[in-house]
Symmetry: C2
Subunit: 199 residues, 2 copies
Amino acid sequence: MTRTVFEKADVVPLLAEVFREFGYEGATLNRITERTGLGKGSLYHFFPGGKEEMAATILAEVDDWFVRNVYAPLESGEPRAAIARMWKEVDAYFRSGRRICLVGAFALDATRDKFAAAIRVYFARWVAALASALRRAGVAPDKAAAEAEAAVLGIQGALVLARALNDEKVFTRALTRLARDLSLPKRSPSSRSTKKGTL
Amino acid sequence: MTRTVFEKADVVPLLAEVFREFGYEGATLNRITERTGLGKGSLYHFFPGGKEEMAATILAEVDDWFVRNVYAPLESGEPRAAIARMWKEVDAYFRSGRRICLVGAFALDATRDKFAAAIRVYFARWVAALASALRRAGVAPDKAAAEAEAAVLGIQGALVLARALNDEKVFTRALTRLARDLSLPKRSPSSRSTKKGTL
DNA sequence: GTCTATAAAGCGATAGAC
DNA sequence: GTCTATCGCTTTATAGAC
């Protein structure tokens, strides 16, 4: 039997998928063992804190992914490009609605209390980053905050509804509509050079 | 010791609250016993099918509540009044965001497969009923369908985000915005007297 | 209809050999 | 670093007294 040796980094994505599919309580050690091919010994070697540490690691990993691919560009990149990238990355990340948001699922679950801080940070930063990009694109601060909140919440709702109806198109449609509803002002040639904030 | 005797109908709301708070897997028989004050014997007397029957009963109960208070008015009542009532009922039902949607939570959970049909029906009927009201209020069919979907999905997303950020105001704000974004045509004086539903 | 006691299975976690 | 065996606990569910 060929015994594959893993690094912790290799295990995390597999682990994440199990938690996504079954939720925190449903992600039993047996299922995790099946999916990852790792025995309990190895699992506890990588995660001495057990299941809770596994979930915390995954949440941190997910958050990190979003920071690098979505939040950071929104916070300091060219706002219109960053927003366009956000829609693209979100669609790809959630597999056009076939994959749910682990953080959103944890927020509704009883698990919530355990990871409340991480969950809050994930969403708060998403909303703040998008609002920042909107402001830098010329949207008034109040409107930017409201629209950012609406967009993030719309993505989460789209994931819920798409999964409930088992219809990916719900997600795709919602993304298109949400992107359209962001009231980005027409890009004027003059404002391009004058208002170019870096953060 | 005064022993309170329950009817099944009295137990269901208490049961529902436990499932809402802890999710399907988190709603253990011990917790249910604590909350309802009923021993396992009584529980299995009311629900011979055990936990799964409890959850199914609750889902049916929730669905029924929404049919009576939201869907039916939307489907056959005066459309504008029904839509207004929907926002009011939804806000009250979800306790302005302090309470989550059991059906939405089940949709994200591993529980989903067990109750997929009930979950689908709940959301499909909601979207269809709202679309029907919008059409009857004068919105074009395509637009009505799209806006109904956006509204229902927005409510679910608002529940997720409000809970994630632990901020009820997110929910209240979202509801206001969603209601405003429904593009109800201006009510013409002529149509006022002609179409007046009582429910 | 309600209770307590208990069964059978599954859970997270640990120990120790390799 | 990985495995198997096992511990102690909790789970759902049942049995039977009242």
